[in-house]
Symmetry: D3
Subunit: 135 residues, 6 copies
């Protein structure tokens, strides 16, 4: 159940088709997941969003591909985005995430949430030593 | 300005002193940041929290130390914990985070937040292919 | 699946019936959505909540009705309230939201989330020029 | 630094004065904290908000006054509202919160945040036994 | 649909079995809810998490058992954790939560969220009187 | 205090200078607020972010400019981004937000937060009538 009906035949729009073709070529799969189908109602929004995802997540950069997925999962969990947690956990698995690493990811996310809430509850003042501008 | 006055002389309590000594030994520094001073009102809470942080963040595990800090920062940003963002960015710098990697981290956190909100706004249904139980 | 069973015959309580009647009259429909049924366990809470919604969202004020729904959707997305996103998107549609406007709403919510997270990650200090007290 | 300059002489408005008088009488103090001064720009919003706070938090109900403050603090921490954490911790102290109880509150909030994030990260399905509608 | 398949026979691992036995003994029931089954992939994480929950939530402390569940629910609602809201509402019911108390809990959580957002929208400055360090 | 020191002379980089020039020309002011100075460490991130903000917020589209700022504020409040609340409230004022409209915005954001939390606490099921795919 979604708030906007995805287009029945999204690739009838050549701009959508071009994005879907690029997703398939980049990921070497025929599978187009629901996020991209959902965004197909607006070719410009689809192009920009995929463009960002491709540039950051599917292109070699200074951080390795698996680390980038772990960061993405961490944000998605804290923002309570069920879909995003599912899709990026699947992506991390595809990029080699082991069971042990997944267990550690769970533990770090949980620990960060714990200290985030402790710090906010106690209103701990930031140490001056952490000021990047003072370096 | 905090919601609980930290003990004036926390190390008068030998359990607190033992934790502070372990923090100094583990991190090879005399600096005890405000989180630990703030938790010193309750030795048991301090011991458990430091115990978890040490075991996950200051002990070799399957994820490398820098990756673990990036995950911690990501959760802390999404939970809007200013103190935590400051302290873990400093920790990541100490573990070798480069300027370029920091820029990428910013971009990935921002992109994840963007797609988290898009997905929630559109209420995109989870693809059955992402079900770990189905494998 | 909810955490409290809604009353089987909510309108047996005359205070609940009066609220439901007012909802039907105000909205010119027989449809009472689940939020109001869920709140019917406590007539006072139901009355106060509907009273606020009616006064702000179903009464002419300085902001136009559609704008008010878009604000409501924006908060609901950021708070990850699936039900609220669904119900207020439907309300916005009923008040004339076009496909193009909906696409823009998606893009603005996503962009705001992106810069919210960037600003929190970088801990950007507030410009003194933004201080309303200084005007 | 706030986003709206509070009125310089809020009690020049008799409706605001009436609310401030009621706050002073209810709380048996001359102190009007900044939230109420900030809301004084709109007498109706001030009246409604104080009315709700008074009815729930300053009137005997089935939950005891201290428990109600602890619930309020818990929500405020999770919503990262620094002002609210400060003001309701002060209120809880005024209602008898001991140091030991405050320490427990910190630990429970932290633990809840931890399991909240674990559950979201693992996407644990709700047990049918928790369905209130099934009873 | 979860992001990690729970072990088919979790109690084949004696450490998991020991935790499950302790849950059953502590709660005086044969029911092991899905959170513990989901965590069974990592015996150490399961032991630590149950250990914390048991020590805080299932052991007499200075706060009474029902109050502790209400705090837990409050955090879980604000963090939008559907599973946690369900499981801790069921736990609160088991510890004696009445219908009237549940209605009040709903109202307080809702009011706290309202003033949290008002305060953040107005950026109300913290009153110096709330500074615990000044006492 | 920020987590990354902004460049001392950002416009020494011609790409940064081009963005700053465009901000000044678009907004018809010499004022460059701290967000853009903070992003100047990475010209590409600055260009993309300003490009999105300009296209959505400073270019005529189907939603009027003030409505777009109100949506932006609403998301920023719910995400607890102090800087963003300040900067977009100032922007809304510059685009004609009246005191009365600002008061309504406060009330709607607060009401949405209230019902968001009520719905999550009660776990109200989505009405089938809200399913966009069923239309």
């Amino acid at each position: 159940m979604s708030t906007r009906k995805p287009p029945a035949d999204p690739e009838a729009d050549p701009r959508v088709q071009a994005v879907f073709d690029d997703i398939r070529a980049t990921r070497k799969t025929d599978f187009i997941n629901n996020l991209w189908r959902a965004l197909a109602f607006d070719a410009a929004l689809l192009e920009r969003t995929w463009g960002e995802v491709k540039a950051l997540m599917a292109t070699p950069t200074t951080l390795d591909p698996l680390t980038k997925e772990l960061i993405y999962i961490a944000v998605s969990v804290a923002n309570a985005c069920s879909y995003c947690v599912h899709s990026h956990t699947a992506a991390a698995r595809a990029k080699g995430l082991t069971d042990a690493q997944h267990g550690e990811l769970m533990a770090i996310i949980a620990l960060a949430a714990k200290t985030n809430h402790l710090v906010t509850a106690l209103q701990v003042p930031v140490d001056p030593a952490f000021d990047a501008g003072a370096a």
